[in-house]
């Protein structure tokens, strides 16, 4: 079970209060966590990563364990505290004004 904390606009869009837990097979990655998240909340498709390419949208960041994982390969294994549920994966809107 992986814990995910979404930004406020995404929580509003998906009708979520608080954090979300998604089931992911062993060795979760950003890709597998987002796949599971989008499967459960299809309205999030295209809002975190682009349709077709699955590329992270420019103003989205992924944080966990005090680190910015945004530029890591999306298929790289997430840190153990995220895999174990001790820490959450944060999907954050970058500070970009507005």
């Amino acid at each position: 079970m992986v814990r995910v904390v979404l930004s406020s606009p995404l929580r509003t869009l998906a009708g979520i209060e608080g954090e979300v837990e998604v089931e992911v097979a062993d060795h979760p990655t950003v890709t597998t966590v987002l796949d599971a998240l989008e499967s459960r909340y299809p309205m999030l498709r295209g809002t975190i990563r682009d349709h077709g390419t699955d590329r992270r949208r420019d103003f989205i960041r992924f944080f966990a364990c005090g680190r910015d994982l945004s530029h890591d390969p999306p298929d790289e294994r997430l840190p153990d505290p995220v895999s174990s549920g001790a820490d959450a994966l944060l999907v954050v809107g970058a500070i970009a004004g507005g």
Binding site: P9, L10, L13, P42, R45, T47, R57, F59, G93, A96
Partner: protein, 382 residues
Amino acid sequence: MFQCNRLREVKVARVRVLVGTKKGAFIITSDGARRDWKIEGPHFGGWEVIHIKGSPADPDRLYASQWTDWHGQVMQRSDDGGKSWEAVGNEFTYEGVTGTHQWYDGTPHPWEFKRVWHIRPSYDDPDTLYAGVEDAALFRSSDGGQGWTELSGLRTHSTGQDWMPGAGGMCLHTILIDPANAQRMYVAISAAGAFRSDDAGESWHVATNGLSSTSLPEPEAPIGHCVHKLAMHPSRPDTVFMQKHWDICRTDDAGESWREVSGNVPSDFGFPIAVHAHEPETIYVVPILSDAEHYPPDGKLRVYRSRSGGDEWESLTTGLPQQNCYVNVLRDALAVDSLDSCGIYFGTTGGQVYASADAGDTWEAIAEHLPRVSSVEVQTLP
């Protein structure tokens, strides 16, 4: 002995004003008297709602284009007049080879989907609708917005490689459909121009003959006119009115030729244009000073009305601020209802929504202090 008490059902028309803003959507309602207004919202708070529009075939079916820089495009659908919403399809993929258009510096730039500027539901099917997008293209859905297919004949028009974005992006912002003949459509693109289709959007031809834009090296060139908005009365599909970057124009032959009808307006720069619901020759614009000065001349917010289809205009000011007013009215933020006394509505970049229940003679603010208003649409309900 029976005493029969008959309850007489009196149907009173209602008005529902759909307001898209920089930070959410608002729905403003009133009965047919249009004196007391109720504001509901924000829906989708924090998201820009670029356009929100009801289906003529089912007034409780609404569609909204929701967007942010962070999360891109979301499309929303309501089946209960905006009480509840469901996110529908947001995948807009250009058909075939994407190709290039001109970038601001004149270099080729690949078509890239950014957002949906305009929604046009069909007249007879609530599940069929069109979306005008940036970078300019036309999409169609026939399943209530779940799936979208590009009508690629527009983007792949032989002139497409020469289209260039306006300051706000290369947006397809106007879609008009002849209610008596769905084969006939018009679209407008900033800053490519106006186009007409006679086969339901499969193929298109340029409809800019007669336009002149001094911002172009060749002012009468077929492509490059920054058309800001088109408006058409449903009973006269061959007559279309245009607010261009500069100039107010009309065509009476379905876009084969245009003529300027700016007449005596204090500035012929503006964004929206609308036609009275019952008088096809009565039209409305909201002049602003210039392309750099996006506010009304002299700090006076004035709607201009022509009862002669242009050329001769009168200013409408009663109830509108006549000093120190420096707001703009964006291209989709002017609309009319279809009650007997036609109502006119517009929203401003300062967050006001003004309404007139007497065709523009007098105005009142029905909302103030909203976020910047992107669009205003009106539904007249039984």
